[in-house]
């Protein structure tokens, strides 16, 4: 029976495909499952052998406590992260789009240098910049402020977004723009009315990239924010649990709530990301 089943090449290929797929899915899904199932366990159940694979009495008590317990500023961290990530994304993508358009489509002396060095600036390690940036923010009185975080986050998102958008804009035919120019359209209106709609997959990719990156940044807030209430989620997650024993139920709950937003965003725009990422990476 088995030899019959695996006789044709097509069938063998099918079995191989589904086998490999199961391994990959298990690999990716297990840590996620472990996080979610722990978040549904009561503090006692977390350490019990009988309930190690799945909660015997699933409850949302961890979620309720995390959101309502005012001694844990979880919601404040969430809000701070949201403010910084959204403002970095919107302003950063706008600046990158203007820059990328200027570099790929307009002629001015020195643009070759700017275009070629933009990616290098993205690759400068955070650990190198964190000390001088701390000194600068301190001098401007911007430590312990979300605005200071916003400014420094921009330096992480803008170089990559500009580079990716340059790659995308290059794929848009020049004729499209020339037609708009003949119709008497100005530079800005050409950019926003003609180019941007066509470049939307690239813009969305850049936006998702900025948001996920800003939502993720850890080193800068760790150094620049000392006041507990001003902290963002990444660093704050460890602050919501004091003491020596780690309440894993609470922590996994916070983790689930932290990852919901990026996942939702990703699901929403997934089809753009693959094309956008592809164009950015493939077209250089």
């Amino acid at each position: 029976m088995r030899t019959y089943f695996l006789r044709t090449r097509k069938q063998r290929r099918k079995v191989l495909t589904y086998g490999l797929l199961s391994i990959y899915v298990l690999l990716v899904a297990f840590p996620l499952y472990w996080m979610i199932s722990t978040s549904l366990k009561s503090p006692r159940e977390v350490y019990q052998r009988e309930s190690i694979w799945f909660p015997k009495h699933p409850s949302f008590v961890n979620y309720r406590d995390l959101v309502t317990d005012i001694t844990r500023p979880f919601l404040a961290y969430y809000r701070n992260s949201l403010i910084v990530a959204l403002s970095t994304t919107i302003i950063g993508v706008l600046i990158s789009l203007l820059g990328a358009y200027s570099i790929t489509r307009l002629r001015w002396p020195g643009k070759g240098l700017v275009g070629n060095s933009i990616l290098v600036t993205y690759l400068v390690p955070v650990s190198l910049l964190v000390i001088p940036l701390y000194v600068i923010l301190k001098g401007l009185n911007l430590t312990n402020t979300l605005f200071g975080l916003f400014l420094t986050y921009l330096t992480r998102t803008i170089p990559f977004c500009t580079w990716a958008l340059m790659g995308y804009l290059k794929t848009i035919p020049q004729e499209l723009e020339d037609a708009a120019k003949i119709d008497g359209s100005g530079v800005l209106s050409t950019l926003f009315r003609v180019i941007t709609p066509v470049a939307m997959p690239g813009v969305i990719t850049a936006g998702i990239f900025s948001f996920v990156l800003s939502w993720n940044l850890y080193f800068y807030p760790l150094i620049f924010i000392a006041e507990k209430e001003k902290q963002v989620l990444t660093v704050g997650l460890r602050l919501i649990v004091g003491g020596d024993t780690i309440p894993w139920g609470t922590l996994m709950t916070a983790g689930v709530l932290t990852m919901i937003l990026p996942i939702a965003l990703f699901v929403f725009v997934q089809r753009y990301v693959v094309t956008g990422l592809g164009a950015g990476a493939m077209k250089g």
Binding site: T17, Y18, Y24, V25, V28, P31, L32, W34, M35, T38, Y47, I52, L98, G99, S102, L106, R107, W108, K111, V114, V120, L123, V124, P125, V126, S127, L128, L129, I131, P132, L133, I136, T152, L154, I158, V187, V212, W215, N216, Y218, F219, I223, L233, T234, L237, R238, W248, L251, M252, G255, M259, P262, F266, Q270, V274, L277, G278, A281, M282, G284
Partner: protein, 294 residues
């Protein structure tokens, strides 16, 4: 005359549009970079203005066994992790390029580790690695593969490996996606022609698939090599560079020296010491990207 004015106008508009970008790059990247280099030649500490000390910080580090260990760890961490990520990413890309039911769903699903915040997945892995109640030790002892629980993150012999495993889990989808985009550029007819000529599956993979995706593979590897090289958050959350400073890399050791030992100047020197190697990787990336566009 008219055309000259037109060119001038284009210059002006060009500069105007790019100026916010330039201001931010110079003000918050170029200037601090210069400061960083300067600081590394001083003995600056918190609250004290640094004095120029020449190459003293660098000389000190060359005799610092923890720095040398961090340098070695960084090389192992980046090298091993990227190698495995390339292989896993290749498998993922080949898999997702096949036709099967629900392919679009799985394309998105396998990308999830790269999308979710590092803090969330790092804590999940930390909990899986937990020596007493963690699932990994539970499974291994149940299967009688180990007799005593392993302290995955605080045993000097396995801690670096544990961090690498997590890094691979988090990063391989990026390789998968880049390679998948590369696979999609291969014309289908090539395989059909090769099949008519009686080419084996191995030959088709070697001469068609690998040929077409060699540059995406290189781009993804160099990029992720640079990221892994600069990695701070994952190691800092999982081990804080411990046990006994054994899992420090350049980035976490910079933090240790600058903010725990409060030697800001020497901390900068730690980061800058690795700059030539990083510069080489960036140079490599540019060469590959240059080739790719032409």
């Amino acid at each position: 005359m008219n055309s000259r004015r037109r060119i001038r106008q284009e210059w002006l508009v060009g500069y105007l549009l790019v100026s916010p970008l330039i201001v931010i790059i110079i003000g918050l990247l170029g200037y601090p970079l210069g400061q960083a280099v300067w600081l590394s030649f001083t003995n600056k500490t918190f609250g004290h203005v640094g004095r120029f000390v020449g190459l003293k910080n660098y000389a000190y580090l060359l005799r610092d066994p923890f720095f040398l260990l961090a340098l070695r760890n960084t090389a192992i961490y980046a090298g091993v992790a990227v190698g495995i990520k390339v292989l896993l990413g290749m498998g993922m890309a080949l898999l997702l390029n096949e036709t099967f039911k629900g392919r679009n769903f799985f394309r998105a699903f396998l990308f999830v580790p790269w999308v979710i915040p590092v803090i969330a997945s790092a804590l999940a892995w930390m909990w899986m690695y937990d020596p007493h109640s963690g699932i990994i030790n539970h499974v291994l002892t149940s299967l009688r593969l180990i007799r005593f629980p392993i302290a995955w993150l605080s045993n000097i012999r396995v801690a670096l490996l544990s961090v690498i495993i997590y890094n691979v889990w988090q990063g391989f989808p990026f390789h998968g996606m880049i390679l998948l985009a590369g696979l999609q550029t291969i014309p289908k007819e090539l395989y059909e022609t090769a099949e008519l000529d009686g080419a084996s599956a191995v030959a088709k993979f070697r001469y068609i698939t690998l040929y077409y995706i060699r540059l995406p593979v290189l781009i993804a590897s160099v990029l992720s090599g640079i990221w892994t090289f600069n990695e701070f958050q994952k190691i800092f959350i999982l081990t804080k560079g411990g046990p006994a400073k054994a899992t420090h890399t350049i980035a976490t050791y910079t933090y240790e020296v600058a903010f725990i030992e409060q030697q800001l100047g020497r901390g900068e020197a730690v980061s800058l010491f690795a700059a030539p190697l990083l510069g080489f990787l960036i140079f490599l990336l540019y060469r590959v990207l240059g080739k790719h566009t032409t």
